[in-house]
Structure formats: structure tokens, C-alpha cells
Amino acid sequence: MSEQDKTRQTAGGRLGGAAGPGGAISRRGFLRRLGAIGAGAAVFSTAICQRARAQYGAAAPDGPTLEQLTAMYTDMLKIRMWETKIKDLILGGGFRGVAHLYVGEEAIAVGVCHALRRDDYIASTHRGHGHLIAKGGDLGRMLAEITHKATGYCKGYGGSLHITDVSLGILGMNGIVGASHLFAAGAAYGIKVKGTDQVAVSFGGDGSIQGNFFSSAANSAAAWKLPWIGVIENNGYQIWVRAADVYGIVDLAQRAQGYGIEGRVVDGNDVLAVHNVARYAVAKARAGGGPTIIECKTYRWYDHYGAGGAKIGADGAFGLGYRSDRELRDWMAKDPIPRFRAFLVAEKVLAEQRADQIAAEVRQAVEDAAAFAKGQPLPKPEDGLMNVFAQGAVALRAG
């Protein structure tokens, strides 16, 4: 680990503060950094990109990295557009489901999940659509599930809060705050037993570090250097409660220190910053270096739940009592998607036209997903008695 990284590794240190290896960086160095996953790599932030660009002119990374960057951009758009569609459907009335929207936080799911292999595990939350999409979830089956259709991911049993695709290594979205951390740490233990180099990542909000689960995950991961990465999506609110009123710390990654875990704070609206810290943590975990806790500072554009304060065809939920519209507007100005697009275009990873085309394709995919979900059949009533156990059905006792 470089010295710079070390200074940043204390929880208080903010990525992008004293960032980057000074001015002198070669193009090769820049690309290596972009693609680096070794324990020495660690930090690649927009600031570095900007400096690199200033020095070497716009330049697109080639090979798989190019693909990956494009895929990251595509996934961010997928989350944004798919969820915006949900929001519009809710506002349209008669929506057969619920949703905790992730819009505004896309950089985290995408930055983290694109540092993972398909066979790595993630454990998700009530606000987990984004994680699922970033890990490869199918938009149509997802929408079918959150409208409780028989062909949805969970055959209609689960809905938005529990939608999952276990075959993608997703240990479930979970409606119980904090449980994700514990299950991922458990999975990380299982990885050690299996002897593979997989990793297990849990997502959780700023509210997820208290309660019973986080502490057990963190201590075990620290004690036995488990390949666990705890991602704290700090969007400033636990429904309407502010962290500052219920915690004695400001940077939540500081919790890591009490367990002897490396804690990192990162700009959660900068997908490359998130991605690079995630890659660092993943490489470290694969190499047996143990866990990392990454706090990503971000903001949610909509209300905790549903679409209150939002309008069809417009972004953001305004007029919510617990936060100011101005605060929201400030954060919308830090929208991770145009920010990333601008970078990609400037770096010639994407031409403007291609970027537009991707947006159009994603928009179409979302419409297709909505149409697919709409046409899907409802579950059979008696299927509720199934899947309690692996075998058979339980008895109906209602009459």
C-alpha cells in the first residue's frame, strides 16, 4: 500500500482530499491505475483522471477496460431509467407493489459490483434494485417480481423488498436493516471453508451499522481476516432521522477502527472513486488481506419509500418535511451519471453519439421490461402454501 493510501486509510480521511500520486503520471501509469487491482493500487478518483487528462489529453482505455467502463455507464443508466419508470408507474396509480428507490445512488452499486466477478456474492437491502441490476439482474423479471407476477424472480412471493437472483450470487435483498452485513460475513466465512478466492460484499445504509448484525459481521471478519467488504451507503437519512442525531461519529467508516478493520470514506457519487476503492478492497480480500469497510457519501433523490413529493416525468421528490429542496437540488447537481458521461466522453471512452445511443437502448429495454411485466400471469392462490420447505406444501388452516 502506498503512503498516500495509508494516510487515507484512517476513517476520517476523505478520498479526493490529498489524493493522487502528484503530477507526474505516465499514460501507461494512468491506464494501469485505471485497471489496477493489486493491493498497491487503491485509489483512482476523478481528480486523478482530471490531472491525467490535463497531462496526456483525452484518451480512452482500450481492451476490456473500455468495455467495462461502458458497461458501468450502461448499468447506471439502467438503474436510473428502470427506477424512474417505477416511480412513474407508482404515480400513475394502481401500482401492484412497493419500492424504495435508489435513484441518485447508482454510482455505488455500479462502482462496487463492477469490481466483482459473477461468482462473488453480494447481500442487499430494502433499497436494493440497483445492486441487483449492477450484478446483472434482468429488468423484465425484476419488474415482474415487484408487481408480484408468477414469472417474477421470486414468483411473486417476494416483491420489491426481497427480489433476488440467487444464481447471480445475490444473497437476497433483505427488509431487515443490517442483516445484509451479517449474511455476507457468513458467506465470507464460507468462502474460507471452500478455499476459493471469492469475496462477499454487503450493502447497508447509514442506518445499518447499529443494531445487532453489523457488529457481529465486523468482529468476525476482523478476527479471521474474512474476505468481507461492508459498503455503507450513507445517504444522510434513516427515513427522516439524521445520523448526527443518533451516532457519536461523523464518518461512519470510523466504526471500522473499533474492530481493527481498515475503513475508507469515498465520494459515493463518483463511480470511479467508488470502483477503485472497491477494486482495492476486493484485491486485498482475495489475497487474504481481510475486510474493508467503505463508506460512500451519497443522497437519495426520492422519499424513503414510494413516490411522495415526486412528479411523473420529473426527477426528484420535493417538499418533504425532513429535508430541504435546496439540499436535494445541490445533490442533484452532483448527479453521478452526467458526471461519468462527461468523463467518458472527454476521455474518448464514448463518443457523444454512442452515449446517446446507449441511453436510447436502455430506455427501450426499460419499456420492454415494463411491457413484459405487464403481460405476465398472476400467481396461483394455493402456491402460497408451497416453498415453505424444500418439499411439499403446508396445510391450509384458514377454513
Binding site: Y157, H162, G175, G211, W240, L378, D383, G384, V394, R397
Partner: protein
């Protein structure tokens, strides 16, 4: 407009907080604020943040903190949301319910665990649509468990719970604002007393909380057919002895018992009532309706297929009476 369940509950707490200057509420995100005809209630605004404290997402703290406070004579109400009802289970079991006994009567927990219960609501998924959790609490020694089915009982039972020096679990299910009007003044509905909702001679029906809505419909339906049901709402699940007096009296008369639960079938709620009747009155014809031993699916089709409703209650009653 009748007072809502929430309004009645907050009115109870407001009155008790005015009466007892130490009574404190710890809660999470469910703001103790309600508007009603009689004016808005805002507990934090009235009593300040120390006595009305929103907390981190940490039900272990909310309940454990309330226990610690109450041990030093600061009575406390711990309010936790429905999906977390079992997070403090160990605390209530091994500490709240046992410490008085273990210390030979020295320790007391004048606290109320105000536990939200989701009930079988659709489109939520199993973690947010549960019912019947009260029976896990009702079997723990040293704890009292009350379950109001309407705002009037809610206010009176909560005041009784707050004034009780023993720990009480107050279960709030989502029920509509039906029943008696709720007086503005404090009053007590005694813990341990059932309510006879309708009198009748053909069979006894027992159920509470959201099931009371279904039972009431079924009772009305049956009456049209000439079957009169005695409908008893236990209101208290623990201790059950007082409640059983009312139920046994009724079943001695009717000879038939039908229970109806939103909780799952096995080892649950009305099971204890059925078992006690069976011991005391052999020969009683008994039918227990309940949710199956399954989690609650999100899809409404599946969920409503599994839930006991008025039609099923009426059908079971007919069968008991005629079959």
C-alpha cells in the same frame, strides 16, 4: 370523526406523561405525532427530546435502554416497528420477565414494550406482513401481553400498561377506528379482562385485532341465518386466567368453540385458549381457524387465499353448529 388507533394511543401517552414527569418514550422513526378533531398531538414538542427520543435503528437499545431506565425508577415506553418485534425477544425473556423473580422481588421494570404488528397486509413480503408474534411473548414468564382491537381499548389498555409496575407488551395491530368513542380523559381498561362483543347461545367465537373485523361480519351474517354466536375478544393474552373465566362461562353455555387467528396455526395464539377449554370442558366441539404455518407471500392472490375471512368463519361456524 372518531379517534384513530394512533390518536388514541398518543392521547394515552400524553396524559400519562403529564401525570408522571419521568415517563419517557424511546422510538425509532414512527413520529409520535397525530392530528385529530381534538387538536394535534406532538409529544416531542410538548415534552422535549429527552423524554421523547428518536433513536438509531437499534431496537436492542430502544428496549434495553427502556429496561435500564425503568430499573432506576424512570418508567419508559419502548416503541419498535413491526418487522423488528423479535429483536428484543431475548431481553424481554431473560431480563424483563425474570429479574423480579431472580432478585426475590427487589427489581422491577415499569416499562411498556409498544410493539407494532404488521398484520397480513398484501404487497409487502413476509418480513413486513406478519401476525401472531404475541404468542411467543405470551409464553414468557413475568410478562403481560395486551392486544387491543379498537381505539377505545387501545387507550385504556395502554394506560393500564403504563401504570402497571410489571413489564407489559402492548401489541398494536392495524385496526380501523370502530367501537366505543374514545373519551378525552385518561381511563383504564384492566389487564386480564376479556370483552364480550356480542352475546349468543349457539357457539362461542374468539378472536382479536384485525380478525375482529372478520368475525363481526360473520356474526352478523350468521344471525340472519338464525345462528347466534357469542363473540369474545380476549384483549389480554397473558396472564390468561381472567380471560378464561369469561370464555369458559360462554363455552359452558354454547358447547362449541371457534377461534380465528391471523397468526399461524401451530403453537400460536388461540391454541392456548383451545387447550384450556379442552381440559376444562371435555366434549366441547372445537374448531381453530388460522393462517397456515407459512410466511406471508406478497402477492395478494396467495395472501388472501391463506387468511381467515368472514366467509370462512361463517362456514366453520355453520359446520360446528349443524355438523
Amino acid at each position: 370523526m372518531a379517534k384513530s388507533m394512533t390518536y388514541a394511543i398518543l392521547e394515552a401517552i400524553q396524559g400519562e406523561m403529564r401525570r408522571d414527569k419521568l415517563l419517557t418514550l424511546l422510538y425509532e422513526y414512527q413520529k409520535p405525532v397525530a392530528g385529530g378533531e381534538k387538536g394535534a398531538i406532538n409529544l416531542e414538542a410538548e415534552f422535549g427530546r429527552w423524554r421523547v427520543r428518536f433513536c438509531a435503528i437499534d431496537e436492542q437499545w430502544i428496549v434495553g435502554g427502556a429496561l435500564g431506565m425503568s430499573m432506576i425508577g424512570v418508567p419508559a415506553i419502548a416503541h419498535i416497528p413491526s418487522m423488528t418485534t423479535f429483536i428484543p425477544y431475548e431481553l424481554m425473556f431473560n431480563h424483563a420477565g425474570k429479574l423480579r423473580h431472580m432478585t426475590g422481588g427487589q427489581a422491577a421494570f415499569p416499562m411498556v414494550l409498544w410493539a407494532d404488528m404488521a398484520g397480513r397486509i398484501p404487497l409487502q413480503g413476509a418480513q413486513h406482513a406478519d401476525a401472531g408474534l404475541e404468542s411467543s411473548y405470551a409464553r414468557l414468564a413475568g410478562l403481560k401481553v395486551v392486544i387491543p382491537s379498537n381505539p377505545y381499548d387501545a387507550k385504556g389498555l395502554l394506560i393500564a400498561a403504563i401504570r402497571d409496575v410489571d413489564p407489559v407488551i402492548f401489541c398494536q395491530y392495524p385496526v380501523p377506528a370502530s367501537g366505543q368513542p374514545v373519551p378525552d380523559e385518561p381511563y383504564v381498561v384492566p389487564i386480564g379482562e376479556a370483552a364480550v362483543r356480542t352475546e349468543g347461545g349457539d357457539l362461542t367465537i374468539v378472536g382479536y385485532a384485525p380478525q375482529t373485523v372478520e368475525i363481526a361480519k360473520a356474526v352478523a351474517e350468521l344471525k340472519k341465518e338464525g345462528i347466534t354466536a357469542e363473540f369474545i375478544d380476549p384483549r389480554t393474552l397473558a396472564p390468561l386466567d381472567g380471560v378464561m373465566q369469561t370464555i369458559l362461562k360462554s363455552v359452558s353455555k354454547t358447547g362449541r368453540l371457534l377461534t380465528s387467528d391471523d397468526g399461524s396455526y401451530s403453537f400460536s395464539n388461540c391454541t392456548e385458549i383451545v387447550a384450556r377449554v379442552a381440559e376444562a370442558l371435555p366434549g366441547t366441539r372445537i374448531k381453530r381457524l388460522a393462517f397456515p404455518d407459512a410466511p406471508a407471500p406478497g402477492a395478494p392472490e396467495m395472501l388472501s387465499y391463506m387468511r381467515v375471512d368472514a366467509a370462512r368463519i361463517a362456514a366453520a361456524a355453520r359446520k360446528l353448529v349443524k355438523g
